[in-house]
């Protein structure tokens, strides 16, 4: 057996050949799918030849993609948050109502971010201090936050924001729309955090075995709480981006978005039971979803029909990621 070998290990550096280990990673599967989607897309429509077209389409999905990045960390740590879309809606409605009530727009933005902190902290409190399962808690808060947004905004839509605030998706830097740029920037930052810092390392360790992490002196509760709060903050920021893009806000902003966010994370190969996953996977999956959704739109498939594909993709991706990991562990 392997354990009988001498400890001088420098000669050989992995128990499996590198190419096999890489090929067996769920992210590789996502990448292959992405390439396939691009090829199919360009065969079907010339639109796909143009990078700027893809970038423009990406702005529609950038908010969910950005939230999915943070959600990746949450899921790796062994928890889940199904409430971000509702947090986007409530924080955006707070922003809109405050602005409409005459609050200076800067302050209104601060209010919306603070509301994100409060909502995330509430989720964290319910899960970490009352020790309730995060799936159920965030199902509850998803309903409640959305409901509060509904109470706040009714069925009117709040608009008439100053021109400098709206249309963030039309602003570009080096030809890249600002929301997409934020997404790319956030991906890099979070990839660095998850991949190279102690915090990232400890997130994996907590997700692998929460008990062992606690015994090793890792402050499990503090880290998880921070992750829940980050979800709130990022959701609030994305709520503002969405408001700017749509130039108006309604209570049903980002409605059903939790499905897409979870889908992106799962499609990126993050393990539903925690401990495994990468920002790279989520990054690739975000683009995959953009290509698929845009492809369907270009092919004149109505948005309602796209639900089928989203739901199916979610189930298939959890099953396959699950199978890959359980096989690797055997």
């Amino acid at each position: 057996m392997t354990t009988n070998l001498p400890p001088s290990a420098s000669s050989q550096d992995a128990s499996k050949p590198l190419w096999r280990a890489t090929l067996m990673r769920p992210e590789t599967m996502t990448l292959v799918l992405l390439v396939a989607a691009i090829i199919v897309g360009s065969l079907l429509s010339r639109f796909f030849d143009s990078l700027s077209f893809i970038l423009e389409s990406a702005t529609y999905y950038s908010e969910f993609s950005i939230v999915a990045l943070v959600l990746t960390l949450v899921i790796i740590s062994g928890e889940i948050d199904l409430s971000p879309a509702a947090m986007m809606a409530l924080s955006a409605c707070l922003f809109g109502s405050a602005f409409q009530a005459g609050v200076p727009i800067g302050l209104a933005m601060v209010i919306s971010i603070v509301s994100g902190v409060v909502m995330g902290a509430f989720n964290g409190f319910m899960v970490l201090w009352l020790r309730l399962p995060s799936l159920m808690v965030t199902i509850g808060t998803l309903t409640m936050y959305r409901g509060l947004a509904q109470i706040l905004a009714g069925d009117r839509s709040i608009s008439k924001f100053p021109t400098w605030f709206v249309g963030v998706d039309y602003r570009e830097l080096y030809g890249v729309p600002i929301p997409v740029l934020i997404f790319i920037f956030a991906s890099i930052v979070l990839a660095v955090v998850l991949g190279t810092t102690i915090l990232g390392r400890q997130i994996y360790q907590i997700g692998t075995s929460e008990v062992a992490a606690r015994y090793a002196g890792i402050k499990v509760r503090r880290i998880k709480f921070m992750l829940f709060v980050s979800m709130g903050v990022v959701s609030a920021i994305c709520g503002l981006i969405a408001t700017s893009r749509l130039a108006s806000v309604r209570y049903d902003l980002a409605s059903g978005g939790e499905l897409q966010m979870v889908l992106i994370v799962m499609l990126g190969g993050t393990y539903i039971f925690g401990g495994r996953g990468t920002i790279l996977g989520t990054f690739i999956a975000s683009w995959l979803l953009v290509i698929i959704a845009t492809g369907m739109t270009v092919a004149d498939i109505p948005v309602t029909y796209q639900l089928t594909v989203m739901g199916l993709l979610l189930i298939v991706s959890i099953i396959s990621t699950n199978l890959i990991y359980s096989r690797n562990q055997a």
Binding site: M136, G140, M144, G147, I151, E258, V262, M266, N322
Partner: protein, 328 residues
Amino acid sequence: MTIIALLRRREAGIIVMIVIFSLFVGVLQPRFLTSETLRIVLLAVPLVMIAAMGEMMVIVARHVDLSIGSILGFSSIVAGMLWRDHPGLPVLLGVVAALATGSALGLVNGLVVTIFRLPSIIVTLGTLSLYRGLLFFYSDSRQVDPQYIPRDIIGMSQTSPIFGIPWIIIVACVIALATYFFLDHTRLGRQIYAIGSNPTAAPLRGIRAAPVTILVFVISGALAGVAGVLYASRFGYVNPGITGVGFEFTVIAPIVIGGVSINGGVGSVGGTALGVLLLGAVSVALPVLGVSGFWQNAIYGAVILFALVIDRSVRQGGLKGLLARDAA
């Protein structure tokens, strides 16, 4: 402590809550306390009641089915299109089709959850979307208009075989009683509680957890299918983009307030039924009080969270134990 003791007998607690709530609303708005209100409440709840019976079984078995809204919509559209496109066929065939559709979709949920051992919330979040999308495909995004809904079906919400009680209320009562008999008085029913109470021990007592779990999802789907038929009856149309949307929370909230534990193994049909009535009364009372219907979602969300906390504190032995440091 007395509050906890009272909540332990959840059914008693809910009855008290219903009475207090009705009196409260009645004082503010005397026209609430009329038999007409009662009639409205009773007409509003059968759909939720029927679906709640299935969802309740799923939760007792320590799972959750988030897809029932889409299943309801799908079953309803299948029945509606059958009635529309084949007016010559017996009306009952549509009902059978709705039942079969619901069962089949529930079967898919059950199979995926048990074969791959995945968390049911995530799986049914996926099928919630999947089924809704398929439903748009199947219906070609077209509504089934009122004129195609058979007279007999519409009549179920209006005509009555006995004492002026409309058919849909009777159907709901029969289903609730049948569920009660099944869960409380058959071996299979008790096995569902056993699985939810201690899944690892269930096989040691000869309980085959996988088939029973699948069956529970099938029943939940089938009952959502029945609710689909009643939807057509009550509202007189079926719309792929409206029918059953958000229905899962309307159903889960009364179940958890009715004392069904999200940790499985606990919950009664009586509690669930009372929970449905309580939230039904609330939803009828809101407009009477001049509160906008927008409050409904927030209330349902808060109710779910509140019920989670109560459930936890009952298990923890009082509210004091709730915040105690964990030991593991």
